[in-house]
Subunit: 449 residues, 2 copies
């Protein structure tokens, strides 16, 4: 029989077990953080009906969709009825609209699942990746104070993740739009062009952006005003003061500044340190979707990774599926990409193996004793593996070394006669002989020591 070369499908992240442990810990930390804020879990099917998924009129999204068809459907030449979700937002909208009467609002849900995009395969680009989302969905209305709670969640989760310093960038789309309006750029298309130029600030620098803005017909003073605001290095209070001092008084601007103030004030009450959050008028992400507050989060020591947690406020979640008005605010952590980038940067260590203790088999005639020891350790809450294949002890120890299991139990006929066993810490080299009835307690102490 000819062999098939085993290969992981391109564009996916498949991990060796110890890395999987580390990744699982990442997901668990995020989940625990989301639950700490009272978000409720939701899981949706990996596929949605094509009708549900592709409500938006064509464009980039549709090109990246993976369609799903059974053998029968392909044979009959049918059009695909299902497609893999490309984000968790469309499934959330469908879920909330479908189960609206069974949910209590504001509905706080978290969802940690994989999504699929038909990206061109290249290093660091994934066709399958985890998103870890939270959203708070209101019915008819949702207080802007929720916009202040979201960065408190980000702060909690990234503190727990312990990947070093991070900065949560906050902006409000209404501030930008109101500002442009106040500076004489009130036509929608012109705004989009201006915002696109502003987005380039970090890449091409202030002078070039200024030239572009003036090229788009903006007055010199207007361009300077907006660039000074965006480039400001002062505190959040300074930025808010500068905004208030502009004397712009259109409704959009005033509402935006008020919301931004609510977020900054709220975060202080939520005990989030001032320097963890920065008003950044340059971030203007997802302008077709977000309508108020927007968030982007950067790791201070790894700006190249880009935003590791983004999101914002939207006016209406599920207008394609229900007449109810469902405003919301949410964020997403792209866990696969984050993990991959941190692994590339050498910041991810192998996770500890699941087994804490390995019961070795020195003497096959004592196997029932080894079984009993393993069973006792497990009953005491210690994750325990038992070597059942036996063979030379050196080989068994090599296995323990390779898998990283920190503690081994050894018992030969001498120990058996004395009613003892030997505990060996394989990393620290410590070794103690202990009475069998104390084995679990002493193993725990050794693991913690």
């Amino acid at each position: 029989m000819s062999l098939i070369t085993p290969r992981t499908p391109p564009g996916t992240m498949e991990l060796l077990p110890r890395h999987q442990v580390a990744f699982q810990r990442l997901l668990d930390t995020i989940r625990r953080g989301y639950e700490r804020f009272g978000f409720l879990p939701v899981e949706t099917p990996v596929f949605e009906t094509v009708e549900t998924l592709l409500t938006k009129s064509g464009g980039e999204t549709e090109k990246q969709v993976y369609f799903v068809q059974s053998t029968g459907a392909i044979q009959q030449g049918n059009k695909p009825e299902m497609a893999l979700r490309f984000d968790l937002t469309v499934p959330l909208a469908r879920y909330v609209a479908e189960h609206e009467r069974d949910l209590a609002f504001p509905f706080r849900r978290y969802q940690i699942q994989r999504v699929y995009r038909g990206e061109r395969a290249q290093r660091g680009r994934f066709r399958e990746f985890y998103q870890c989302d939270i959203d708070v969905i209101g019915k008819d209305s949702l207080s802007p104070q929720y916009d202040a709670e979201i960065p408190a969640v980000i702060h909690h989760v990234f503190t727990e993740l312990n990947f070093g310093g991070f900065t949560i960038n906050v902006n409000n789309r209404k501030v930008l739009l109101g500002l442009l309006d106040g500076l004489g750029v009130s036509e929608a298309d012109a705004r989009v062009l201006v915002l696109r130029e502003i987005d380039k600030l970090d890449k091409i620098g202030r002078d070039k952006v200024r030239d572009s803005l003036i090229g788009l017909g903006m007055a010199d003073t207007a361009a300077d005003t907006i660039l000074s605001l965006i480039d400001a290095k002062g505190s959040n209070a300074d930025t808010l003061a500068a905004l208030n001092a502009l004397g712009i008084d259109n409704d959009t601007f005033r509402q935006g500044v008020a919301e931004l103030t609510t977020v900054i004030d709220g975060l202080r009450a939520f005990q989030v340190p001032d320097d963890a959050v920065r008003i950044n008028l340059a971030i203007a992400r997802g302008l077709d979707y977000y309508t108020g507050t927007v968030y982007e989060t950067f790791l201070n020591d790894h700006p190249g990774i880009g935003s590791v947690c983004s999101g914002g406020r939207y006016d209406n979640l599920a207008s394609h599926y229900t007449k109810s008005k469902l405003p919301g605010v949410g964020i997403s952590i792209g866990a696969t990409r984050l993990f991959y980038q941190l692994m590339e940067a050498g910041l991810i260590k192998d996770g500890a193996p699941t087994a804490q203790v390995l019961v070795t088999q020195m003497d096959p005639s004592l196997s029932a004793d080894y079984f009993r020891i393993a069973s006792d350790l497990r009953a005491a809450g210690i994750n325990t593996e038992i070597q059942l294949d036996g063979g030379k002890l050196a080989k068994q120890m090599k296995y323990a070394d390779r898998t990283g299991i920190p503690v081994a139990v050894l018992m030969g006929s001498d120990e058996k006669a004395r009613g003892t066993a030997t505990l060996k810490h394989l990393i620290r080299g410590e070794q103690i002989e202990v009475p069998l009835e104390e084995l679990a307690t002493r193993a725990k102490a050794l693991l913690e020591g």
Copy 2:
């Protein structure tokens, strides 16, 4: 704009949040149990290349596969290159063959992921469902003692799941084949026919099976011998004694009985109660795949659900992908079906909401205080939600009631002046006013009380 009716794709299990909490607890319990025995996590992509997935020559499997294609591939009329996994065994085989050099053997892996089958949609049949698998894979060989450890895992997990009594049925395919050989049925096709009849014992009864066996050309005495063994109600020791007393001495039979004895003896040493495990010579599942020990597990009070955890021993995991011989033993819990059936039987209660405490907003002017209280409770490890929309207190309490959050914090200007807040247990009706600095401690006590 015309609305699209939001609907969950047919054949999938989508849960409301509180049920999702209960389901998540089920998966967590299984995972914790698997880790207790030192199994390492693995996740594989949801799709595999068609070449990897469809190595077996056609048949039922291929008909049930879901193919995956990007928009571009469909437009170009290409044949699908990817398909959704239909179990976790094929991905495991591919994984072990691909990463063989990076794994330590025996390789103990668990995998808890969804699989996909193009079933005809009908109640209780799922196109997408979780499998929770463990396997121990040896290189070249794997001690039959691992066959004894697997039911110890099943026993641990189902005890922790707490769904009532259960029985792990154990058989060994070699015993059956050796027995048939000893009774004169040695031709492979005839064996398959006989085993198929034996499998019907529970459904059609002993007399009808006897008639069928004789109709297949088996001698009356042979039919009676096999039926007596299979129908035996004695202890496992009785069954082993009866097998040994048959005087059959072909290699297959003797090896099978020895392995079965190893399993039963081992389980005793693993401290699994005798009555949790039953040798059942009638179970003959997956005859094309398993080669030795097989397992099926039934809930004593819900036999109609069928086996909730099945598996067995196989000779060679990955012969399609590698020349290495990789014998293994494993089991699978079909978590989606199990949960669904228990829910239908009324045995699944809603899970507790993730939030333990709801901080209400009695007086909007105190919102910064509420933020600080929520933040303090969270820092103390209490999952806390805060009502930010405000509104009438009755409405906020109704929300707490609907979501099932057990404890509410209330603070008006009087309490604020006294430096206190009121903790109210919404289920027990208890209410206490406590100093703010004791709030977290007292809330914990109230939650535990």
